[in-house]
Symmetry: C2
Subunit: 592 residues, 2 copies
């Protein structure tokens, strides 16, 4: 790649440098930033639209406020790249060899201007209320500013945060970055009010923010540094909770991103000139498989409803497929708690809801899964996507925790398919049954296929499947890692001549005590392998069951720790999640 020139951005090493620029220099800076964003993101992948839309507002914030004395909290922080550039990290955007010097989110370990590691939406105002209260207790006078998008306002935590911010009654400035989009289109009644406020240039009497007690200011030109600077100057040091509602353009400055906002919210590397991916992306994946299956099933079952919480493509629901599903598709906005509770209501009333989101976002629904669904035994279906060490590797999006989170809730049936055929059979069974809440954990890694026929009826709960019957060693390979169990069995056969038993447990939430008891005869070692954290996981249940017996148990899975941007191969090897390592451990234990 040829070396790019960034005459203005290269001179910025701190917000002070931005404050010193005149209008012409600022125009140059804006151009440099957009160029750096587009080059890095098109080569590297990342959040495109949110960052392009917030270039001017970020510059204006850093011209008016004095970070880090004034506290900026970036909601979900996928719009924080300009902030990173202006706070000493421009090189990580200008120079390809430094691209990975920074994370894709704000990161306090990286820079003093980043206050929190943030990757889930709707948290900024709540976090900011703590900063404001701490300031007030200490008698400080800094500004506290939370920047939150219109899409993120749909989350309950945002609303709870706004309520407290209003009640605190002191300086807290909420910048509502309204680009008329969530990840996909917006959903939720509050959007009516944002539409009204934009249409009236902020003058409508009916104003959700004023209703809560906020002072309110509207900025139509949300991509104009002068207009933004004037507004921020006006509210700086205000003694009152204040909302500055700015109207920005998502994807600003890059035609394909302005036109195709959903596609360019986040993008894998693409061809900057054509605005298209060179990779045609038609390799087999669980998102497309899920959507195709559900669309087919919907035609046969008018009570089937697919539910998304603002990440429709997680379940393969492209705009075309959403249109095809019609009223059998619901997007609740970024509101996972609503999605789960609504699923309970649908199931109770005889409909067949299927809610799919990422493992990491199911973390927002524990109480709804427990109280709204499982206590009520509502037969809803939940598809847990990206719940795998082979998935997202940002610390805020890890897929290691869904087994401890979901499988320990009474009444839940949590299933771990090993192949696409098994997955679809489980999904079809779950939709058809009306007895149990069911969650299904999508396998990670390449899509695998069953060789023979798969079972269609999963109503006899907790019945594991022995895929090979042997002796001395039993290998329970759950979901993603069933193939590892088979590979270890092959290696044991080769190395020791031991014919190991291999089991597909299928049910994460319960023990097949008949099978576990039968294994006591003739098996000295039972091995569990799971795609998730060991603590609170599946393997520990097996270890507890065999605790009072002579059977030795080895559990494989992930350590309890937050890791960021890990290397996949290194992570598997550090966790001893490879066939040679497991085989070696088993051999060593057999030789004891």
């Amino acid at each position: 790649m040829e070396k790019e020139e960034y005459p203005y951005l290269s001179k910025v090493s701190s917000p002070a440098d931005v404050k010193a620029m005149d209008a012409d220099q600022l125009s140059g800076l804006v151009a440099d930033i957009r160029k750096a964003l587009l080059l890095k993101l098109s080569r590297h992948g990342g959040h495109v639209g949110p960052n392009l839309g917030m270039v001017e507002a970020t510059i204006a914030l850093h011209r008016v406020f004095n970070s880090p004395a004034d506290k900026l909290v970036w909601d979900v922080s996928h719009q924080s790249y300009t902030h990173k550039m202006l706070t000493g990290r421009a090189l990580a955007f200008m120079s390809p060899e430094h691209y990975d010097d920074v994370t894709g989110y704000t990161c306090p370990w990286e820079n003093e201007h980043d206050l929190f590691e943030i990757g889930h939406t709707s948290t900024s105002v709540a976090l900011a209320t703590g900063l404001a209260k701490a300031r007030d207790l200490a008698g400080g006078h800094n500004n506290v500013i939370a920047i939150i998008g219109d899409g993120s306002l749909s989350g309950g935590e945002a609303y709870e945060g706004l309520n407290m911010a209003a009640e605190l009654g002191t300086n807290i400035i909420i910048v509502v970055n309204d680009n008329e989009m969530s990840i996909a289109e917006n959903h939720g009644g509050y959007i009516n009010n944002l539409n009204l406020l934009r249409a009236t240039q902020g003058k409508a009497e009916c104003n959700m923010f004023k209703a809560m007690g906020f002072d309110y200011l509207y900025v139509e030109q949300g991509n104009d540094i002068a207009a933004l600077t004037a507004a921020f100057q006006q509210v700086k040091d205000t003694p009152k909770p204040t909302v500055v509602h700015i109207h920005t353009l998502k994807g600003k400055g890059y035609e394909p991103a302005e036109q195709r906002k959903e596609e360019f919210h986040w993008h894998m590397p693409w061809n900057l000139a054509t605005g298209r991916s060179d990779d045609d992306g038609d390799s087999e994946n669980y998102s497309d498989i899920t959507a195709s299956f559900l669309l087919g099933a919907m035609k046969r079952d008018p009570k089937l409803v697919a539910i998304s919480a603002a990440v429709p493509t997680m379940m393969g629901f492209t705009p075309e497929r959403r249109a095809e599903a019609g009223k059998q598709y619901v997007d609740v906005g970024i509101a996972e708690a609503e999605a789960v509770a609504m699923s309970s209501g649908l199931a109770k009333a005889g409909a067949h809801p299927v809610f799919c989101t990422a493992s990491s976002f199911f973390q927002r629904t524990y109480d709804q899964l427990s109280q709204d669904v499982c206590i009520n035994r509502s037969p809803a279906t939940f598809i847990v996507a990206a719940g795998t060490v082979l998935g997202m590797n940002d610390v805020t999006h890890l897929g290691f925790f869904d087994i401890p989170l979901i499988s320990n809730i009474p009444n839940m049936v949590y299933l771990a398919p090993t192949t696409v055929e098994e997955y679809l059979a489980m999904l079809q069974w779950s939709i058809n049954q009306n007895k149990d809440p069911v969650a299904i954990k999508l396998p990670g890694g390449p899509v695998r296929h069953s060789q023979g026929k798969v079972q269609t009826d999963y109503s006899r709960l907790n019945q594991y499947e022995a895929t090979r019957r042997g002796s001395r060693v039993a290998l329970l390979g759950l979901g993603t890692f069933h193939h590892l169990a088979t590979e270890v069995a092959d290696a044991l056969k080769q190395q020791l001549g031991v014919e190991a038993t291999v089991v597909n447990p299928r049910y994460i939430t319960g023990l097949d005590t008949a099978m576990l008891d039968s294994l006591k005869a003739g098996h000295q070692v039972v091995v569990t392998i799971e795609d998730g954290q060991l603590d609170g996981g599946f393997g520990e249940k097996i270890a507890r069951y065999y605790g009072p017996t002579a059977v030795r148990v080895l559990n494989y899975g992930l350590k309890k720790e937050f890791v960021d941007r890990y290397d996949y191969a290194a992570m598997l090897s550090d966790s001893r999640l490879t066939a040679p390592q497991i085989t070696a451990d088993v051999v060593s234990l057999l030789n004891e």
Copy 2:
């Protein structure tokens, strides 16, 4: 007790009977219901104010709508007793020997007019969106009605539900029962709008419900059957999402409850004539101990902030103590997510937040504990109250799940004190340190005291304390049940002459591998005893650790199941959580 007469209520066996009554009969019915409520509640305990305030509205709802064809969803359902009386369950309120025929919450296993088991707030609208969507898919025409209190509107799930209800665009009626109170006083910016709407008889242009797209109707006389009936008639069969905002009087009809609304939100049995408890209630308890300690500590530490989420007395913060704490006390409303995220912000800014709520309500904060607090290593303190089998025994308020929920989050330090002295030492240490997020699980049962000095520094994580050193058997008694470990050790000594090792693990979140390794020498059996569910709990981690070794492990705790209104002794015995049962198991294993 003499037999009471209920001339009107005794004639009601279904809503049809209520529909058939004339105005005079309805007056008689209202009087009967209030009498029955007061007699039962004063003898039995329960939710007083919420039920007294909703007598007329419930009658009006059942006169206008046709339950169960029309669907009534009662938020948190602690106002549902009149509904129970009108739907065939009056005897459970009129006749003392039948008091326990019904639960304290709506219960679908009890009656077809109850759609969900509900005990956590802010869920009704979200559940109702599912009922409405299912109706629309099936082409039905019934009304869907969610009844929600002003206090419950502070919860994020309520807001998310309202957003979807507004977007669905079809019949859904939200009855906002505004009694100007949460459990204690209300908190949150939205209260400004409810105040404005009441002050203007619903006429203010700035209206949070209209902002979301709801039709809106205000009823000032929320305890007048005629006014309520007219309003409900007006909205019945509406094709649009509609809010009916009714102004009711919490505690209506019983002077002490009208005057002392917080005290009479929920009440233990009391003397109806005096309005006071005969029991002076000054036995030692962790709520008072916590409040006294924190108030003392606040005087020395101006950065200390006690945070409640609408249950201040859970941490002993009576109105007097709240006044004493002044700005060092914050109530966020029923908004646990905000409480946890705010704690993270406070801790990051150098303050010392302490948030206390019930184990069951921490279930609403998993994502905030994980993302806002633990990924960010914010040194906030969380006190987990009622996290014990010896606490609340309603299915919606069980305290069995906090160990699986909280202890499996990386970076969290979850402590289990065994005595009040140990608890206060841990609390003081946590407040003073600035390194780790800390949660403390309050012990259940009678308050116990340490004999000797307790450790003051807990910064060396995961260091267990051996309280007796012996051999053959090691008993790890966590928190509440440390005394059981000691009792088992005594019994083993007596029965077998075995001097067992007894350990106070103190740290739920990590293993003292040095101690666990040392126990391998000379110990054949390791026993864990914990006050929580076995699945995902502490004992399973010990079982996993010893899995590959010859050490036998026995785990004691609670089964993974939802149980309702259990008998404490039977529950302990069914779980083998008694010293004789554990001793017998150990003896049997030693004799194998």
